[in-house]
Symmetry: C2
Subunit: 197 residues, 2 copies
Protein backbone atom coordinates (compact mmCIF):
# COMPACT_ATOMS: atom_id res chain seq x y z
CA UNK A 1 0.00 0.00 0.00
CA UNK A 2 1.22 3.48 -0.88
CA UNK A 3 -0.54 5.25 1.95
CA UNK A 4 -3.85 5.76 3.66
CA UNK A 5 -6.72 8.19 3.15
CA UNK A 6 -9.26 8.94 5.85
CA UNK A 7 -12.60 9.41 4.13
CA UNK A 8 -14.66 11.66 6.44
CA UNK A 9 -18.37 11.88 5.69
CA UNK A 10 -21.88 12.07 7.05
CA UNK A 11 -24.95 10.25 5.80
CA UNK A 12 -26.75 13.59 5.66
CA UNK A 13 -24.49 14.73 2.80
CA UNK A 14 -25.60 14.73 -0.82
CA UNK A 15 -22.21 14.81 -2.57
CA UNK A 16 -21.01 11.96 -0.34
CA UNK A 17 -23.17 9.71 -2.55
CA UNK A 18 -20.64 10.04 -5.37
CA UNK A 19 -17.66 9.28 -3.13
CA UNK A 20 -19.36 6.31 -1.46
CA UNK A 21 -19.97 4.80 -4.88
CA UNK A 22 -16.42 5.25 -6.22
CA UNK A 23 -13.98 5.65 -3.32
CA UNK A 24 -13.04 2.02 -2.64
CA UNK A 25 -12.61 1.07 -6.29
CA UNK A 26 -10.42 4.03 -7.20
CA UNK A 27 -8.31 3.82 -4.03
CA UNK A 28 -7.81 0.09 -4.45
CA UNK A 29 -6.78 0.59 -8.09
CA UNK A 30 -4.18 3.12 -6.87
CA UNK A 31 -2.96 0.84 -4.08
CA UNK A 32 -4.07 3.30 -1.42
CA UNK A 33 -5.98 2.12 1.66
CA UNK A 34 -8.98 3.98 3.08
CA UNK A 35 -10.53 4.36 6.49
CA UNK A 36 -14.19 5.36 6.36
CA UNK A 37 -14.92 7.90 9.09
CA UNK A 38 -18.61 8.78 9.59
CA UNK A 39 -19.23 11.64 12.02
CA UNK A 40 -21.95 14.10 13.00
CA UNK A 41 -21.29 16.87 10.48
CA UNK A 42 -24.52 18.60 11.43
CA UNK A 43 -23.07 19.38 14.88
CA UNK A 44 -20.22 21.27 13.20
CA UNK A 45 -22.48 22.92 10.61
CA UNK A 46 -24.74 24.17 13.39
CA UNK A 47 -21.70 25.72 15.08
CA UNK A 48 -20.62 27.36 11.81
CA UNK A 49 -23.97 28.74 10.65
CA UNK A 50 -26.20 25.97 9.30
CA UNK A 51 -26.73 23.68 6.32
CA UNK A 52 -24.97 24.51 3.04
CA UNK A 53 -28.06 23.95 0.87
CA UNK A 54 -31.06 26.13 1.67
CA UNK A 55 -34.38 25.22 0.08
CA UNK A 56 -34.99 27.18 -3.10
CA UNK A 57 -31.52 28.75 -3.30
CA UNK A 58 -29.57 28.82 -6.58
CA UNK A 59 -26.71 26.94 -4.91
CA UNK A 60 -29.10 24.11 -4.04
CA UNK A 61 -30.49 24.02 -7.59
CA UNK A 62 -26.91 23.84 -8.89
CA UNK A 63 -26.01 21.07 -6.43
CA UNK A 64 -28.81 18.78 -7.64
CA UNK A 65 -28.04 19.48 -11.29
CA UNK A 66 -24.32 18.95 -10.74
CA UNK A 67 -24.95 15.77 -8.79
CA UNK A 68 -27.10 14.40 -11.64
CA UNK A 69 -24.38 15.31 -14.16
CA UNK A 70 -21.60 13.71 -12.09
CA UNK A 71 -23.72 10.62 -11.33
CA UNK A 72 -24.32 10.08 -15.02
CA UNK A 73 -20.56 10.05 -15.65
CA UNK A 74 -20.24 7.29 -13.05
CA UNK A 75 -23.07 5.26 -14.59
CA UNK A 76 -25.35 5.98 -11.62
CA UNK A 77 -29.01 6.80 -12.10
CA UNK A 78 -30.31 8.77 -9.10
CA UNK A 79 -33.81 10.25 -8.99
CA UNK A 80 -33.13 13.89 -8.10
CA UNK A 81 -33.79 16.05 -6.22
CA UNK A 82 -33.98 13.56 -3.36
CA UNK A 83 -35.64 14.46 -0.01
CA UNK A 84 -33.32 16.86 1.85
CA UNK A 85 -32.27 17.44 4.59
CA UNK A 86 -32.14 13.95 6.00
CA UNK A 87 -33.69 13.91 9.51
CA UNK A 88 -32.15 10.59 10.63
CA UNK A 89 -28.60 11.20 9.44
CA UNK A 90 -27.25 11.17 13.02
CA UNK A 91 -28.72 7.69 13.61
CA UNK A 92 -27.56 6.46 10.20
CA UNK A 93 -24.00 7.64 10.96
CA UNK A 94 -24.01 5.58 14.16
CA UNK A 95 -25.24 2.49 12.29
CA UNK A 96 -22.54 3.07 9.69
CA UNK A 97 -19.88 3.24 12.42
CA UNK A 98 -21.10 -0.06 13.91
CA UNK A 99 -21.18 -1.65 10.48
CA UNK A 100 -17.66 -0.49 9.66
CA UNK A 101 -16.44 -2.01 12.93
CA UNK A 102 -18.10 -5.32 12.06
CA UNK A 103 -17.30 -5.52 8.36
CA UNK A 104 -20.64 -4.68 6.74
CA UNK A 105 -20.34 -0.91 6.90
CA UNK A 106 -19.57 -0.10 3.27
CA UNK A 107 -22.42 -2.33 2.05
CA UNK A 108 -24.81 -0.66 4.49
CA UNK A 109 -23.72 2.83 3.44
CA UNK A 110 -24.15 1.99 -0.24
CA UNK A 111 -27.58 0.43 0.47
CA UNK A 112 -28.50 3.61 2.34
CA UNK A 113 -27.54 5.87 -0.55
CA UNK A 114 -29.27 3.60 -3.07
CA UNK A 115 -32.44 3.89 -0.99
CA UNK A 116 -32.08 7.65 -0.46
CA UNK A 117 -31.11 8.58 -4.02
CA UNK A 118 -32.20 5.76 -6.31
CA UNK A 119 -35.77 5.02 -5.14
CA UNK A 120 -38.80 7.24 -4.72
CA UNK A 121 -39.81 7.81 -1.08
CA UNK A 122 -40.90 10.57 1.26
CA UNK A 123 -37.62 10.86 3.19
CA UNK A 124 -35.21 8.60 5.07
CA UNK A 125 -36.94 7.69 8.35
CA UNK A 126 -36.22 4.90 10.86
CA UNK A 127 -38.12 2.21 8.88
CA UNK A 128 -35.92 3.02 5.87
CA UNK A 129 -32.79 2.55 7.97
CA UNK A 130 -34.17 -0.76 9.21
CA UNK A 131 -34.73 -1.76 5.59
CA UNK A 132 -31.08 -0.96 4.78
CA UNK A 133 -29.89 -3.07 7.73
CA UNK A 134 -31.99 -5.96 6.43
CA UNK A 135 -30.57 -5.54 2.91
CA UNK A 136 -27.10 -6.23 4.35
CA UNK A 137 -28.35 -9.21 6.37
CA UNK A 138 -28.28 -7.65 9.83
CA UNK A 139 -30.67 -8.07 12.74
CA UNK A 140 -32.29 -4.64 12.70
CA UNK A 141 -33.51 -4.65 16.32
CA UNK A 142 -30.15 -5.36 17.88
CA UNK A 143 -28.30 -2.90 15.62
CA UNK A 144 -30.90 -0.21 16.35
CA UNK A 145 -30.39 -0.79 20.08
CA UNK A 146 -26.61 -0.55 19.71
CA UNK A 147 -26.93 2.58 17.56
CA UNK A 148 -28.96 4.32 20.26
CA UNK A 149 -26.70 3.23 23.12
CA UNK A 150 -24.69 5.86 25.05
CA UNK A 151 -21.46 4.13 23.96
CA UNK A 152 -22.21 4.58 20.26
CA UNK A 153 -23.44 8.14 20.75
CA UNK A 154 -20.18 8.93 22.56
CA UNK A 155 -18.11 7.19 19.89
CA UNK A 156 -19.60 9.35 17.16
CA UNK A 157 -19.22 12.49 19.26
CA UNK A 158 -15.52 11.66 19.68
CA UNK A 159 -15.17 11.22 15.91
CA UNK A 160 -16.90 14.58 15.45
CA UNK A 161 -14.44 16.19 17.87
CA UNK A 162 -11.56 14.76 15.85
CA UNK A 163 -13.10 16.06 12.60
CA UNK A 164 -13.47 19.54 14.13
CA UNK A 165 -9.86 19.47 15.37
CA UNK A 166 -8.69 18.60 11.84
CA UNK A 167 -10.52 21.68 10.53
CA UNK A 168 -13.25 19.79 8.66
CA UNK A 169 -16.25 21.99 7.83
CA UNK A 170 -17.96 20.00 5.06
CA UNK A 171 -17.95 16.57 3.44
CA UNK A 172 -16.79 14.49 1.80
CA UNK A 173 -13.33 15.44 3.06
CA UNK A 174 -10.32 13.26 2.35
CA UNK A 175 -7.48 13.53 4.84
CA UNK A 176 -3.91 12.33 4.38
CA UNK A 177 -1.89 13.00 7.53
CA UNK A 178 -3.06 16.54 8.31
CA UNK A 179 -3.68 17.53 4.68
CA UNK A 180 -7.35 18.11 3.83
CA UNK A 181 -9.03 17.73 0.44
CA UNK A 182 -12.63 18.90 0.55
CA UNK A 183 -15.13 17.64 -1.99
CA UNK A 184 -15.74 14.54 -4.08
CA UNK A 185 -13.83 16.20 -6.94
CA UNK A 186 -10.67 16.24 -4.84
CA UNK A 187 -10.38 12.51 -4.19
CA UNK A 188 -7.88 12.22 -7.03
CA UNK A 189 -5.77 15.03 -5.52
CA UNK A 190 -5.78 13.17 -2.18
CA UNK A 191 -4.62 9.99 -3.91
CA UNK A 192 -1.83 11.87 -5.73
CA UNK A 193 -0.73 13.48 -2.47
CA UNK A 194 -0.80 10.09 -0.75
CA UNK A 195 1.44 8.53 -3.39
CA UNK A 196 4.04 11.33 -3.47
CA UNK A 197 4.50 11.59 0.29
CA UNK B 1 -13.13 27.37 -32.52
CA UNK B 2 -14.94 24.51 -30.86
CA UNK B 3 -17.23 26.68 -28.76
CA UNK B 4 -17.32 29.51 -26.28
CA UNK B 5 -17.11 29.69 -22.51
CA UNK B 6 -18.39 32.67 -20.55
CA UNK B 7 -16.01 33.16 -17.62
CA UNK B 8 -18.04 34.92 -14.90
CA UNK B 9 -16.07 36.41 -12.03
CA UNK B 10 -15.64 39.25 -9.60
CA UNK B 11 -12.42 40.93 -8.53
CA UNK B 12 -13.44 40.35 -4.92
CA UNK B 13 -13.02 36.58 -5.35
CA UNK B 14 -9.98 34.69 -4.10
CA UNK B 15 -10.24 31.51 -6.21
CA UNK B 16 -10.72 33.67 -9.33
CA UNK B 17 -6.96 34.36 -9.06
CA UNK B 18 -6.24 30.82 -10.25
CA UNK B 19 -8.65 31.04 -13.19
CA UNK B 20 -7.44 34.47 -14.26
CA UNK B 21 -3.90 33.11 -14.44
CA UNK B 22 -4.71 29.99 -16.46
CA UNK B 23 -8.02 30.43 -18.29
CA UNK B 24 -6.85 32.00 -21.56
CA UNK B 25 -3.92 29.66 -22.04
CA UNK B 26 -5.88 26.45 -21.42
CA UNK B 27 -8.89 27.56 -23.48
CA UNK B 28 -6.69 28.65 -26.36
CA UNK B 29 -4.84 25.30 -26.26
CA UNK B 30 -8.23 23.56 -26.50
CA UNK B 31 -9.43 25.83 -29.33
CA UNK B 32 -12.24 27.20 -27.17
CA UNK B 33 -12.95 30.94 -27.05
CA UNK B 34 -13.74 32.80 -23.82
CA UNK B 35 -15.70 35.88 -22.91
CA UNK B 36 -14.62 37.43 -19.61
CA UNK B 37 -17.66 38.62 -17.69
CA UNK B 38 -16.95 40.63 -14.51
CA UNK B 39 -20.04 41.40 -12.43
CA UNK B 40 -20.97 42.52 -8.92
CA UNK B 41 -21.03 39.17 -7.14
CA UNK B 42 -21.32 40.88 -3.77
CA UNK B 43 -24.81 42.12 -4.70
CA UNK B 44 -25.91 38.49 -5.20
CA UNK B 45 -24.05 37.23 -2.11
CA UNK B 46 -25.75 39.90 0.00
CA UNK B 47 -29.12 38.67 -1.28
CA UNK B 48 -28.20 35.05 -0.49
CA UNK B 49 -26.73 35.52 2.98
CA UNK B 50 -23.27 37.08 2.82
CA UNK B 51 -19.64 36.32 1.99
CA UNK B 52 -18.53 32.68 1.75
CA UNK B 53 -15.37 33.17 3.83
CA UNK B 54 -15.89 34.47 7.35
CA UNK B 55 -12.85 35.64 9.30
CA UNK B 56 -11.46 32.90 11.50
CA UNK B 57 -13.66 30.09 10.15
CA UNK B 58 -12.21 26.68 9.26
CA UNK B 59 -13.53 27.05 5.70
CA UNK B 60 -11.56 30.28 5.33
CA UNK B 61 -8.40 28.63 6.71
CA UNK B 62 -8.89 25.78 4.23
CA UNK B 63 -9.44 28.21 1.34
CA UNK B 64 -6.10 29.97 1.90
CA UNK B 65 -4.25 26.69 2.32
CA UNK B 66 -5.92 25.20 -0.76
CA UNK B 67 -5.23 28.34 -2.79
CA UNK B 68 -1.54 28.16 -1.84
CA UNK B 69 -1.42 24.47 -2.81
CA UNK B 70 -3.16 25.06 -6.16
CA UNK B 71 -1.05 28.16 -6.88
CA UNK B 72 2.11 26.19 -6.35
CA UNK B 73 1.01 23.62 -8.96
CA UNK B 74 0.58 26.48 -11.44
CA UNK B 75 4.02 27.91 -10.64
CA UNK B 76 2.48 30.96 -8.92
CA UNK B 77 3.92 32.34 -5.69
CA UNK B 78 1.24 34.25 -3.80
CA UNK B 79 1.80 35.67 -0.31
CA UNK B 80 -1.18 34.27 1.60
CA UNK B 81 -3.45 34.99 3.34
CA UNK B 82 -4.00 38.20 1.36
CA UNK B 83 -6.15 41.06 2.72
CA UNK B 84 -9.81 39.98 2.51
CA UNK B 85 -12.53 41.03 1.81
CA UNK B 86 -11.62 43.48 -0.89
CA UNK B 87 -13.40 46.82 -0.30
CA UNK B 88 -12.95 48.20 -3.84
CA UNK B 89 -13.99 45.08 -5.78
CA UNK B 90 -17.06 46.83 -7.21
CA UNK B 91 -14.89 49.62 -8.66
CA UNK B 92 -12.28 47.14 -9.89
CA UNK B 93 -15.00 45.14 -11.69
CA UNK B 94 -16.09 48.28 -13.52
CA UNK B 95 -12.50 49.06 -14.56
CA UNK B 96 -12.13 45.46 -15.73
CA UNK B 97 -15.27 45.78 -17.87
CA UNK B 98 -13.96 48.98 -19.47
CA UNK B 99 -10.59 47.34 -20.07
CA UNK B 100 -12.16 44.27 -21.66
CA UNK B 101 -14.13 46.53 -24.01
CA UNK B 102 -10.94 48.34 -25.02
CA UNK B 103 -8.55 45.39 -25.24
CA UNK B 104 -6.44 45.80 -22.07
CA UNK B 105 -8.85 44.03 -19.69
CA UNK B 106 -7.04 40.73 -19.20
CA UNK B 107 -3.72 42.51 -18.58
CA UNK B 108 -5.37 44.80 -16.04
CA UNK B 109 -7.06 41.89 -14.24
CA UNK B 110 -3.81 39.96 -14.04
CA UNK B 111 -1.98 43.08 -12.80
CA UNK B 112 -4.71 43.51 -10.19
CA UNK B 113 -4.35 39.92 -8.90
CA UNK B 114 -0.55 40.17 -8.92
CA UNK B 115 -0.85 43.29 -6.75
CA UNK B 116 -3.50 41.76 -4.46
CA UNK B 117 -1.91 38.34 -4.04
CA UNK B 118 1.77 38.62 -4.91
CA UNK B 119 2.87 41.77 -3.06
CA UNK B 120 2.59 42.80 0.58
CA UNK B 121 0.12 45.64 1.20
CA UNK B 122 -2.63 46.66 3.55
CA UNK B 123 -5.52 46.00 1.19
CA UNK B 124 -6.62 46.96 -2.32
CA UNK B 125 -7.68 50.60 -2.17
CA UNK B 126 -8.19 53.20 -4.93
CA UNK B 127 -4.46 54.10 -5.19
CA UNK B 128 -3.73 50.39 -5.80
CA UNK B 129 -6.27 50.29 -8.62
CA UNK B 130 -4.70 53.42 -10.10
CA UNK B 131 -1.33 51.66 -9.93
CA UNK B 132 -2.75 48.68 -11.85
CA UNK B 133 -4.15 51.00 -14.54
CA UNK B 134 -0.71 52.57 -14.89
CA UNK B 135 0.93 49.14 -15.14
CA UNK B 136 -1.15 48.47 -18.25
CA UNK B 137 -0.39 51.92 -19.70
CA UNK B 138 -3.74 53.59 -19.13
CA UNK B 139 -4.54 57.12 -18.11
CA UNK B 140 -5.77 56.50 -14.58
CA UNK B 141 -7.80 59.70 -14.20
CA UNK B 142 -9.92 59.19 -17.29
CA UNK B 143 -10.51 55.49 -16.59
CA UNK B 144 -11.44 56.28 -12.98
CA UNK B 145 -13.94 58.83 -14.22
CA UNK B 146 -15.44 56.33 -16.69
CA UNK B 147 -15.56 53.61 -14.00
CA UNK B 148 -17.58 55.89 -11.71
CA UNK B 149 -19.95 57.08 -14.46
CA UNK B 150 -23.65 56.11 -14.30
CA UNK B 151 -23.27 54.30 -17.64
CA UNK B 152 -20.59 51.95 -16.31
CA UNK B 153 -22.43 51.40 -13.03
CA UNK B 154 -25.54 50.46 -15.03
CA UNK B 155 -23.53 48.22 -17.36
CA UNK B 156 -22.20 46.18 -14.41
CA UNK B 157 -25.64 46.06 -12.80
CA UNK B 158 -27.03 44.62 -16.04
CA UNK B 159 -24.26 42.00 -16.10
CA UNK B 160 -25.11 41.15 -12.48
CA UNK B 161 -28.78 40.74 -13.44
CA UNK B 162 -27.75 38.33 -16.20
CA UNK B 163 -25.56 36.36 -13.78
CA UNK B 164 -28.44 36.11 -11.31
CA UNK B 165 -30.81 34.95 -14.07
CA UNK B 166 -28.32 32.22 -15.03
CA UNK B 167 -28.35 30.96 -11.41
CA UNK B 168 -24.81 32.06 -10.55
CA UNK B 169 -24.18 32.20 -6.80
CA UNK B 170 -20.38 32.10 -6.59
CA UNK B 171 -17.30 32.50 -8.77
CA UNK B 172 -15.46 31.65 -10.83
CA UNK B 173 -18.35 30.14 -12.78
CA UNK B 174 -17.89 28.92 -16.35
CA UNK B 175 -21.02 28.92 -18.48
CA UNK B 176 -21.52 27.11 -21.77
CA UNK B 177 -24.98 27.85 -23.15
CA UNK B 178 -27.05 27.50 -19.99
CA UNK B 179 -24.78 24.88 -18.37
CA UNK B 180 -22.95 26.11 -15.25
CA UNK B 181 -19.63 24.87 -13.88
CA UNK B 182 -18.84 26.47 -10.53
CA UNK B 183 -15.26 26.68 -9.31
CA UNK B 184 -11.77 26.94 -10.77
CA UNK B 185 -11.50 23.14 -10.58
CA UNK B 186 -14.35 22.80 -13.06
CA UNK B 187 -12.82 24.74 -15.95
CA UNK B 188 -11.71 21.47 -17.55
CA UNK B 189 -15.27 20.09 -17.29
CA UNK B 190 -16.57 23.24 -19.00
CA UNK B 191 -14.04 22.81 -21.81
CA UNK B 192 -15.00 19.13 -22.24
CA UNK B 193 -18.67 20.06 -22.34
CA UNK B 194 -17.95 22.79 -24.88
CA UNK B 195 -16.13 20.40 -27.18
CA UNK B 196 -18.76 17.64 -27.08
CA UNK B 197 -21.78 19.88 -27.72
Amino acid sequence: MKGQIDFWFSLGSTYTYLSVMRCSEICSRNDVSTRWRPFQLKTILDELGGLPFKEGSPKTAYMWHDLARKSSKLGLKPILPAPYPNPQAHLANRMARIGLDFGWGEDFIQAYYRKWFETKHGGMEEPDLIGCLEVVGQDANSIMEMAKSPETVARLDAETDEARALGIFGVPTFVVGKELFWGNDRLEDAIDYCKMR
